[in-house]
Symmetry: C2
Amino acid sequence: MTGDDHPWKSDWTVGLRVWAERAGRTILGKGRLELLEGIDRWHSISEAARQMGMSYRRAWLLVQSVNEAAGAALVEAATGGSHGGGARLTPLGRQALDVFRELQDELHGTAAAVLQRLV
Amino acid sequence: MTGDDHPWKSDWTVGLRVWAERAGRTILGKGRLELLEGIDRWHSISEAARQMGMSYRRAWLLVQSVNEAAGAALVEAATGGSHGGGARLTPLGRQALDVFRELQDELHGTAAAVLQRLV
């Protein structure tokens, strides 16, 4: 290694993607996490979708996909009204979200620490 | 949380993808790492490609992409012969590989530790 070569150049960055899956199907990832956080906040799939600039239909399908992939409901949607009668996270849903957020935070922390230490 | 709800179900797994990039272009990821490890081992792009079941053309293009994205050569390919006259990692290339492998290992370790602790 010559004097000007550093093992990790200052303009290199690390990309990181983390997701939870079951039997090859995605349960949670960045977008699904954001949607579920919105549902937890607004108690409404349509409002959570609107805040993300996502169509209600797409958000509704994502929620179905989350629940089906998880093998247990993370979101409970009440029926009724044109856009449903509200929605909320199940206890399992909220706890899964907490674990996933912690996982994301720790992974980003690890990546930063490794680069700090090695570079 | 009811007795049967666990925050992270035993059949849920965590997926993790990590890559190095510069200005939005991928330098290293899982496949590129494997290719560069092969080049380091065989001192030949064509042999490294063959071991991965990858065409020589695709491997050669990947090497160009690695070097261009990095903004500095990680692989040096000698010219000559039908498939070139051998190739090797530069000192920067070997060190970048070491850092990246360490990063991957620590991230997988962190993911396992978080799930162990929280679940």
